[in-house]
């Protein structure tokens, strides 16, 4: 069952801790100081990553509305609104990569976008206690490596307080972050224990 990210109303963050919303998005900072939750899906770029990474977007980025860009290195939104973790497979030697890349580092063949499993096992995690300006998830949070296929590991943040240990079953879910300006709002991946 593909994950769906229903359209929603932007939510303000009342506290410093990340606010998880039902659609998997978070509010990384108080609304007055920092960005708010990205509500819903962009309605204009559904077909951006349905095939080759060379495929032109349906609309220029500055026309996206609401201001939700997709992290094309890591996720794909299908035409039906379903959310997928994106990888890319070499059309010549069949190697699979994540994040998405244009060409194979083994043979140089063109890579084509392919959906990856959203369930895997954690390999290793770190709890981040200190960051730099521009990082919009307030610490502490974790960065987790999740193996979703042989030779394919996804690196993504986890907003859950419980420490991740190697071998745990992990699910990849949507996460939206917005920077200081609308142009940096972007949808990607978080790691969760909830499917």
């Amino acid at each position: 069952m593909p994950l769906r990210v229903p359209p929603g109303t932007p939510v303000s963050a009342p506290a410093r801790q990340p606010l998880a919303s039902p659609d998997g998005s978070v509010v990384p900072r108080p609304a007055a100081a920092r960005p708010t939750l990205m509500g819903g899906l962009p309605s204009t770029n559904m077909n951006m990553m349905s095939g080759s990474p060379f495929q032109a977007p349906a609309h220029p980025a500055h026309e996206l509305s609401p201001p939700a860009a997709i992290d094309h290195r890591r996720v794909r939104l299908a035409a039906d609104g379903s959310w997928h973790v994106a990888g890319s497979r070499c059309t010549q030697c069949d190697r699979l990569y994540h994040p998405v890349r244009t060409a194979c580092s083994h043979c140089g063949g063109l890579c084509k976008v392919e959906d990856l499993p959203i369930e895997g096992r954690s390999c290793v995690a770190t709890q981040v206690r200190s960051t730099r300006p521009g990082v919009v998830i307030p610490p502490p949070y974790q960065i987790v490596l999740v193996r979703v296929a042989e030779n394919v590991v996804v690196r993504a943040p986890s907003l859950e307080a419980q420490r991740w240990v190697p071998g745990e079953i992990a699910y990849l879910r949507p996460l939206s972050l917005r920077g200081d300006s609308d142009s940096t709002a972007i949808m990607s991946i978080q790691v969760s224990r909830k499917p």
């Binding site: 992290d71 194979c104 580092s105 390999c123 290793v124 730099r132 690196r155 993504a156």
Partner: protein, 374 residues
């Protein structure tokens, strides 16, 4: 085996400073030229390594200190900038393009973490995925999990670095620290505490390179026996970027070109931006068995006086880390150790061969392994 040699070097104190980059560069370059007994007029070209100043930054700085008019090559490879610059300079000498050249690495840095340099990864920037502390922390945690190494073993690398830095008058940190202080310092990204992270420093390091057979000045030549430059293989995600495949690969190339083996190495300067960096890279260079990089540090084997001294000037953890200057600073320490001029931190007997490993960025920059012989 290349035909290029280091014949002199100079360095400024690393750390916080109000001095400008040209002022620091003047000190380092003057010192380097003095040691080589050369003048500015005898320099054929300059190779500048810098990470943050932007396009042409080296040319502008060189013009300020009287090196205008000569070819200036600007190299931006993050933390490996001046190691790449040195490799390029050696190659030009090898091919006879230039005779005597300067390598100048510099950086003026503020406090705090540096931004991600993967400019096309906006989500990574917003989520902090590409900050160096978490990247090295993941390596550190995986290392602890894989080899049953304790955090005390890893922290011993920082203790050793700060002990060596206390012997280096140009080091950013001049005070030794205890294991308890390292482990008890604030957590940055588990398992790495603040004292297991290198400081952001300002500083300049300069080297004079010349043909080994005809160095010109009176500086004692130290041959650059091999310099291997490479980048990470993006597709090797089976190890999730946790190992040091690029260093293993480049070390193999460098040892082969230099016709040396790890057992021939008497001193090493490694990119210890974080303690896990030294543990993993000392193993990748073949200096100690896999899984023993941290325990060897805790046992004193990598200390001055140990079987394979590592980061004798304090490394990035103690000497400091002005991004563009670090590669040249590592090679300058090697030059001093191989010429017996490292003063209070000199290894006895004076080693005959040394290796440096300098890493820049992640997917975007370079790794350089350089072997030098006396």
């Amino acid at each position: 085996m290349t035909s290029a040699a280091i014949i002199g070097g100079g360095i400024t104190p690393f750390g916080r400073t109000t001095a400008t980059v040209p002022q620091m560069a003047f000190v380092a370059v003057t010192s380097a030229l003095s040691q080589a007994e050369l003048t500015v007029a005898q320099i054929d070209a300059v190779f500048c390594g810098h990470a943050l100043p932007g396009s042409g930054g080296g040319t502008a700085v060189m013009a300020e200190i009287g090196l205008d008019g000569v070819p200036v090559f600007n190299v931006a490879a993050a933390c490996a900038s001046s190691a790449v610059a040195t490799s390029l300079a050696a190659t030009h000498i090898e091919h006879g393009t230039f005779g005597r050249v300067l390598v100048v690495g510099f950086e003026a840095m503020g406090r705090g973490m540096i931004p991600s340099s993967i400019v096309h990864d906006e989500f990574g920037r917003l989520a902090g995925l590409d900050l160096q502390p978490p990247r090295y922390a993941l390596k550190a945690q995986a290392y602890l999990d894989a080899y049953g190494v304790s955090i005390e073993h890893l922290a011993a690398i920082a203790v050793k670095a700060r002990r060596n830095a206390a012997l280096n008058p140009n080091a950013h940190w001049r005070k030794a620290v205890t294991l308890e202080e390292v482990i008890g310092s604030p957590l940055v990204a588990s398992p790495l505490t603040r004292l297991q992270c290198c400081p952001s420093s300002s500083g300049v390091a300069a080297l004079v390179l010349a043909p080994y057979a005809a160095p010109g000045g009176s500086g004692r030549p130290v041959r650059i026996a091999a310099s291997a430059v490479g980048s990470e293989r993006y597709g090797e995600s089976a190890d999730a970027g946790l190992t040091e495949e690029v260093t293993v690969r480049l070390a193999r190339q460098a040892y082969e070109r230099a016709a040396l083996a790890p057992a021939d190495i008497g001193v090493a300067q490694l990119h210890d931006a974080f303690t896990s960096g030294e543990a993993i890279r000392s193993e990748a260079l073949g200096l100690c068995p896999v899984g023993s990089g941290a325990t060897w540090a805790s046992e004193g084997r990598t200390s001055i006086g140990g079987s394979i001294p590592i980061n004798t000037d304090g490394g990035l953890l103690g000497r400091g880390h002005p991004l563009g200057a670090t590669g040249a600073a590592q090679l300058l320490e090697i030059y001093r150790q191989l010429t017996g001029t490292a003063a209070g931190r000199q290894i006895e007997p004076v080693p005959r061969a040394a290796i440096s490993q300098n890493s820049g960025g992640s997917e975007n920059a370079a790794t350089v392994v350089t072997i030098c012989t006396a």
